[in-house]
Symmetry: C2
């Protein structure tokens, strides 16, 4: 795994993004931002699940106004997502937002950008330059390939901000296509030291979208690229936060509750290993400790994986060996598999 | 994306693995292999979903005997998964199996390996050397780190097979830990030109296991490594085949039915985009054509993504623009969104 790219950190409210900060998990509300109560409720639910920064769409003045009330009621940093109208960015900042996301594809007048930047600079509000494949302006593209064009748009905006003495910058370059997205991030990672917000955009419905996002975000993280991630799914944002942590956990980049190792089962299994794994998984949903639990079906890989976990079981015919921290602590009958595992998990510090 | 590693192909029955063959999707049955009817039914279901090679556990002589009947009733190549007892490998070959998977962690007598190899060579039956973290023999490990030890075990077995004039070899080196698995495959990829079977072992229950597998397999494929994949999940093997194709599709390595681009929705959306995406997704389940469909919620990224799809919709307030092959073909009212999309999809060749 490549060493993480060194980026120049920014702070979204109290949360550091980049530098040596953990890779930050963020999401976006799907409520109508003008509906303060629903938006705040959704943000609180996401915060409980581990969401560390939240973004809201600001499509009009009423939404910008709602930020004032939303900010009072939440405790994680808030980013305003702005398109087309620079005045909404100004209003969002007036109302206390902690960060802005601007799309160089659609706020294209440098004077408008300048007005935003002057306020952001005075208040130390970071700006994310968020380029999306779906909103690339076609008129200025010329003959550039997609990746080069995405990088050029972002770098043009970076230089504009820098020329205004502003460097509280994050960058994102997202597409639905994974190779396009990865190539764009790799290119920009070599050109700047700003933190990178990574993700695969419009990835789709939960399961297919999670798989696509995991492939794309996983490739980037393994390559040392990425300071904050958002998984974009057509579903409740709780699925986005869940998937983000699972991706990070799979590369040992964050701890977030338990990890379950469980065997796929096969014609060698002599117990209902899938049912046991499912039940243990349900039990683990209420556990916050970052423990590793292994549910294994036979003597081939069972003992090795069970030994490597904090608590494990390697099942044989009618009996199973319970492992704790690398040692067999007891052997139990099939009707005691579940309770023995739970008992050992409960006894962990 | 790195160019695919050039491997020396082998043939499992009629299916080529490695060389310039497409990356092959395989799975493993979870039935009792001795139960021929259930095993055959599961194989047929998996074949319908696109599974190209199937593996069955052969834990005893009865299971080895069952291969004779199973082979008569299926049309995709069959691999026997053998542990501990070399005689089961001989019996499986006698009964017509197309490939063997051996674990050097547990068939450790070179004379036993030799007996298997002589038969496999005479009948041109490829052997996969499948090393698993969970079954590493601890006694011979010495002071080697895990990755080096996994690679050494595989290479020792490769050299043994080569010394017996056998080269119909595939290799797998799987662990639950993604960085360990990736490092092991990268190392072996530099040392041999045999095709690689890739996967993350014991990845867990469907959603977390799919995410972990997507990260690990995605990193390897992006790096040009991998000739056949198996996603190991604690669930019905149909989920394994589904996830394998989604991973391959996300890197444009295989086509397999439709791809749905759909926006995550946000406070900018003025229609029930999540519901529409879900309904379109259900409709697409019966479509076999490898088409790209985009369901987009607003004017920011909507037109760009919709234009890039075979059929797309970019929704606004109460109305949506229907795109086909990059052009707006009509604008429809909200109550016609679904039927308009279906109509355009149906009219594709």
């Amino acid at each position: 795994m490549r060493k993480r790219r060194i980026s120049q950190p920014v702070h979204i409210g109290s949360v550091q993004v980049g530098g040596d900060a953990p890779i930050v998990v963020q999401s976006m509300t799907k409520t109508d931002t003008r509906d303060v109560r629903s938006t705040v409720n959704q943000i609180k639910e996401l915060q409980d699940l581990g969401c560390e920064i939240i973004r809201v769409a600001v499509p009009d003045q009423q939404a910008a106004d709602a930020i004032l009330q939303i900010k009072k009621k939440i405790s994680i940093p808030l980013i305003a997502d702005i398109h087309f109208d620079y005045r909404l960015a100004l209003a969002a900042m007036d109302n206390g937002v902690d960060g802005l996301r601007l799309n160089p594809g659609n706020i294209r007048n440098p004077d408008h950008i300048k007005k935003i930047v002057i306020v952001a600079r005075n208040r130390s509000i970071p700006i994310r330059i968020g380029v999306n494949f779906g909103s690339l302006p076609q008129d200025k593209r010329g003959k550039l390939p997609t990746v080069s064009y995405m990088v050029k748009l972002a770098m043009d905006q970076v230089r504009l901000l820098e020329s205004l003495d502003f460097n509280l910058i994050k960058i994102a370059l997202k597409a639905f296509d994974v190779p396009t997205t990865v190539a764009a991030y790799r290119s920009i990672a070599r050109r700047t030291s700003y933190p990178l917000h990574i993700g695969i955009t419009e990835a789709g419905l939960p399961v297919t979208g999670m798989i696509r996002s995991s492939v794309g975000i996983g490739i980037l993280l393994y390559d040392g690229i990425g300071d904050t991630i958002r998984v974009s799914l057509s579903s409740h944002p709780r699925d986005e936060v869940f998937a983000a942590y699972e991706i990070l956990k799979s590369l040992n980049l964050r701890e977030h509750g338990p990890v379950l190792v469980s065997c796929p089962s096969c014609g060698r299994s002599e117990t209902d290993i899938l049912g046991l794994a499912q039940t243990v998984s349900e039990y683990l949903q209420d556990i916050k400790k970052p423990i590793k639990v292994a549910v294994m079906g036979c003597v081939v890989n069972g003992p090795g994986e069970a030994r490597d976990a904090d608590v494990g079981i390697a099942c044989g015919k009618g009996r199973g060996a319970i492992f704790k921290k690398g040692k067999v602590v007891k052997t139990v009958e099939e009707n005691q598999f579940l309770q023995s595992i739970i008992q050992e998990i409960s006894s962990l510090p």
